[in-house]
């Protein structure tokens, strides 16, 4: 069986005002406080296209390797629903703004980040359309940025083994990088519906169903997988697939038929007569005397595209010598790349070592406390400070971890202060260290004999003892040298 899956992704454009009316956009505003006359579909009001939204669409199209249609059209899609005051939605059904693009993403094999493959998915088209009223009315969430979906479920590994989730994740990153959408699923800024069908090789495509109500990337993978299985089982048992809309139930982990949407819905598409065709220009076609304010120039936008995630990741790997999977994690966590780069700037420690502290220590603290990078009590400055101490060998790495734990409390102390306070500094005085080593050697005759006889492993025990004597304040490498010198010469 060959499954065919198409994703319909709705991304809310990040702009100050709405697509067709002048009213503001603001998440979690009181219900109906941001409604202009046009939004309420008062009779006699007309849509006026928002330039910023057009630019966002063009940017997104370019980032996804689409052809931008220099002329695109607006249509009305009619249906009656309480959240659609005008009785129709303005969309781009005939000629959308961008077509025929592609999205490359990385897929984990067996959930191991070390085994990633690059895949490409086709983007059929990008169209501008009105959002319905739902998100205005249903919003009761608070403004805080703690988003467990984002922080918790992704964990330390930001890699999906489901191609659908991986692709959508990459798209999210691209949209966020471009600034065209904040694309957070939990806030309704990104919605994904899946169209699923299955067929036997060599035969025509099967009947497809539409799966809605998918609220996170993990559920996306589950929903699609479930639906594919369901269809296969149904067909193998001699049944048929209905062309219907199904809702994903996250608690039950399955798809259920939605309330009947009248079988085939005829949307009676009609050109939107109040919006002339949208004409975009590029450097070649731009008329000489045209007011710059009045037009959208594709080439101008192209020149100003920021680095896309894939490019950013490649650069990180190249400049800092970190592993590809590290770059994924850096990009996946909001603000982490910046944090990392700031630390690197302020420390002599090699980036390859810094990354370990960032990903293993800092990030896991953040995750444990469900904090974002921005909320970290340990700033990049403090961490860099700490790493410098480590690099200068003034403390051991065990001690460093202890210092970090203290820093985490956010009491305003510097790493140096903590080191002094807790007496974590490595003993710098060679003579003192020698004395302690000697003391340990003197107290452990049997071990000394074993070492002199060739059993090197026992040396570690002595090192451990020295560590205990010094309360962890000795540099193990140095201790080893000293012991070896004393014992083996």
């Amino acid at each position: 069986w060959i499954p065919v899956v198409g994703l319909e992704i709705h991304a809310q454009i990040s702009s100050n005002s709405k697509l067709f009316s002048g009213s503001q956009v603001q998440f979690a505003a009181p219900p109906n406080s941001l409604v202009s006359f046009f939004d309420a579909s008062l009779p006699g009001t007309l849509p006026v296209l928002n330039r910023r939204c057009v630019e966002a669409a063009v940017m997104t199209g370019l980032a996804l390797n689409c052809s931008i249609n220099k002329k695109s059209l607006f249509d009305r899609k009619h249906y009656f629903y309480a959240d659609l005051p005008a009785g129709y939605q303005i969309t781009q059904q005939r000629v959308p703004i961008a077509v025929n693009g592609s999205l490359s993403y990385s897929l984990c094999i067996d959930n191991k980040m070390s085994q990633m493959v690059t895949k490409t998915v086709r983007i059929k088209q990008i169209q501008l359309e009105q959002d319905s009223g739902k998100s205005l009315h249903d919003d009761t969430r608070s403004q805080t940025l703690v988003d467990l979906n984002r922080a918790g479920k992704l964990g330390l590994f930001s890699c999906f083994s489901s191609p659908f989730s991986a692709a959508v994740r990459e798209l999210q990153l691209i949209l966020q990088t471009l600034g065209s959408s904040q694309a957070v699923m939990a806030e309704g800024q990104l919605r994904v519906d899946a169209n699923v069908s299955v067929h036997q090789p060599g035969e025509l495509y099967g009947v497809r169903t539409e799966v809605k109500n998918i609220n996170s990337l993990r559920f996306l993978a589950k929903a699609v997988d479930y639906e594919i299985q369901r269809q296969i089982e149904e067909l193998e048992n001699g049944g048929t697939i209905l062309n219907e809309t199904r809702a994903f139930d996250s608690k039950l982990g399955c798809t259920l038929p939605m309330r009947d949407k009248e079988g085939k819905q005829d949307y009676r598409f009609m050109p939107e007569p109040n919006l002339p065709p949208l004409i975009l220009y590029d450097a070649k076609s731009l008329p000489a005397n045209m007011n710059h304010q009045q037009v959208v120039n594709i080439d101008w936008i192209h020149e100003r595209l920021p680095d896309l995630p894939s490019v950013k990741r490649a650069k990180l790997v190249e400049w800092y010598g970190i592993l590809p999977e590290h770059s994924f994690t850096l990009l996946n966590e909001d603000g982490l790349t910046e944090f990392f780069e700031n630390v690197v700037k302020q420390t002599q420690m090699k980036p390859k070592r810094v990354i370990g502290w960032i990903l293993n220590d800092l990030l896991s603290y953040l995750k444990q406390h469900s904090l974002t990078v921005k909320e970290s009590p340990v700033s990049s400055f403090l961490l860099a400070d700490l790493l410098n101490l480590l690099e200068k060998k003034e403390i051991s790495s065990t001690a460093a971890k202890q210092v970090l734990a203290e820093l985490w409390k956010g009491e305003g102390k510097t790493p140096l202060e903590i080191v002094k306070e807790k007496k974590l500094g490595l003993i710098q005085d060679q003579k003192e260290l020698e004395q302690i080593c000697q003391a340990v050697i003197d107290g452990r005759e049997n071990e000394v004999i074993a070492i002199k006889a060739g059993n090197r492993k026992v040396l570690n025990k002595l090192i451990g003892l020295v560590q205990r004597e010094t309360q962890g304040r000795s540099n193990p490498v140095l201790v080893k040298q000293l012991l070896e010198k004393k014992l083996l010469e």
Binding site: F37, A40, S41, L42, P43, G44, T45, L46, P47, V48, L49, R76, H78, F80, A82, P85, A86, G87, Y88, D266, R268, F269, M270, P273, N274, L275, P276, Q294
Partner: protein, 516 residues
């Protein structure tokens, strides 16, 4: 002239306003107004007076009483579209054209009557009842009408105004205001202008903002201007035209209001007479009037030639498809949820929608919605809607070809006959009537061209007959100049109404030009 009178202090804005209001009251039987905004009008008049006192009037329109068709949004004043669906609806904003008039100091007397949602050619199908043509009560008509039995027949003999901007036309015709706004989708400004003996201008599509005009057919609607003379129409046009950022279909180019020249020489003009406008049903009176007009131009030295607009015969059918399709779409917003009428039916949202729409809309509106939705169905879209769009382009191209061949202006009749008695009119249904009556005016809407009705003569029955001039896109200046010349030649008689005589004063006497 009235404007001059205001400036010179011969009459004050409040006096003017009060006279119009009382004339309005005496002519209430015409049913031209749905809402009279007496308080706000008087207040506006007072403010205008203050400005004149300080010697700082806002312009020619300052203090001039005007009326606005009830499908334009007016803040704080009820806007009903003569429909149950919007009875009691008070809009929070002014249509751009209304705002422009107010900004010029015009005094808004009230909202005029129309066919429900502007669908009709008689102004007879609104929920507030039909509008009566003031000429029904004129000496000219009464003298010519066959005396049958007594006053009872005066009641049943009254004639329609034409539509759908009948209220506005009647208001201007009966002197209760000096200018009125109508709308024109298939002839709705020019048709009643012809029947009521006033000037009715349909501007080029895209010249005047439609923001705030409750739409019938978005791709054909324009705000229309009704006045008693061509000069006045030019003044109003000057105050309304121009790009509106709130209406994306208005053109960006700057509009320069113009002073209308008084043409003396028409010898450089080329007038086209489209032969297809010799439509079936055209009365012999109008036919001969049309020929006389052509002769007039010829004798004055203009080049008058017969031209052809071959696709004219398809325009009514094409219009029906496109109009009903857009109507079906535009009426979708009336669901009783956000504003307007809401049915008491509350079993489910769908049943509430259905009941609300059945109760709120009349048969005409519902009929068009059903047809429109039919044409927009996926299986029909190609054969009806797309086909009609193609035919529309052919019709528009007919005009382009004729204008490119050197013709400046087209001269045609506006209506097939003079105004018919109401009792006759209602014998046929709205759709039939519309199909018949729109035939001469409707193609200009398809092509987006400017057109104007100029009252030309009285019929045998003593009722007004008008002729139509159609011009090139955005060439209103030329169109109005020719219309003004023609107006001067024909010297159309003033209506002789008892009621007006009673309120008589200098201002109303020399009634050709009100503003300049």
């Amino acid at each position: 002239q009235v404007s001059a009178a205001l400036r010179e202090g011969r009459v004050t804005p409040t006096e003017l306003c009060q006279r119009c209001l009382s004339l309005l009251k005496s002519t209430k039987f015409l049913n031209a107004y749905i809402t009279v905004a007496e308080e706000t009008a008087l207040k506006q008049a007072e403010e205008s007076e203050e400005r004149y006192r300080r010697g700082q009037p806002l312009g020619v329109l300052d203090g001039i009483p005007v009326a606005v068709k009830d499908n334009f949004n007016t803040a704080g004043i009820e806007t009903t579209c003569a429909s149950n669906m919007l009875k009691g609806y008070i809009s929070p904003y002014n249509a751009t054209v209304v705002q422009k008039l107010l900004d010029q100091g015009a005094v808004l007397l009230g909202k005029t009557n129309l066919d429900e949602f502007a669908m009709g050619s008689g102004s007879t199908d609104g929920v507030f009842g039909p509008v009566r043509n003031p000429w029904s009560y004129s000496r000219q008509y009464k003298e010519k009408s066959v005396p049958e039995s007594h006053s009872e027949d005066e009641e049943s003999n009254w004639v329609i105004t034409g539509g759908s901007s009948g209220g506005s036309a009647a208001a201007v015709s009966s002197f209760t205001c000096f200018a009125a706004l109508g709308s024109d989708t298939g002839g709705s400004t020019r048709n009643p202008a012809a029947h009521c003996g006033v000037v009715g201008l349909k501007p080029t599509y895209g010249l005047i903002s439609r923001h705030g005009l409750i739409p019938l057919v978005n791709s054909m609607d324009v705000p229309g201007i009704l006045t008693r003379c061509v000069d006045d129409a030019a003044v109003v046009l000057g105050s309304l035209a121009g790009h509106d950022p709130k209406d994306s279909t208005t053109i960006q180019d700057n509009f320069e209001p113009f002073e209308l020249p008084s043409l003396t020489n028409v010898s450089k003009l080329s007038i086209g007479i489209p032969k297809e406008y010799h439509a079936p049903g055209l009365s012999s009176e109008i036919l001969s009037l049309w020929s006389k007009a052509a002769e007039l131009f010829k004798n004055a030295g203009a080049r008058v030639i017969e031209v052809s607009l071959p696709h004219t015969c398809y325009s009514i059918v094409c219009y029906h498809v496109l109009c009903t399709a857009e109507v079906a779409s535009n009426m979708a917003r009336f669901d009783g949820l956000e504003y307007g009428h809401r049915s008491d039916m509350n079993k489910s949202t769908e049943s509430m929608y259905a009941a609300t729409r059945r109760e709120g809309f009349n048969d005409v509106v519902r009929g068009r919605i059903l047809s429109g939705n039919y044409f927009l169905l996926k299986q029909n879209y190609e054969n009806y809607f797309i086909k009609a769009q193609k035919v529309r382009r052919l019709i528009a191209n007919d005009f382009v070809k004729v204008f490119e061949s050197g013709v400046d202006i087209l001269l045609t009749p506006t209506t097939l006959t003079d105004a018919v008695p109401y009792v006759e009119f209602i014998k046929e249904d709205n759709r039939t009537r519309s199909a018949q009556d729109d035939i001469l005016t409707q193609a200009a809407n398809m092509a987006g061209l400017p057109a104007i009705n100029v009252p030309a003569a009285l019929s045998e029955r003593g009722l007004p007959l008008g002729l139509q001039f159609i011009g090139r896109s955005f060439q209103e200046r030329q169109l109005l100049s020719v219309a003004k010349w023609f107006e001067k030649q024909v010297k159309f008689p003033m209506i002789q109404l008892e009621e007006v005589k009673r309120h008589d004063h200098d201002v109303f006497q020399h009634q050709k030009s009100s503003f300049s």
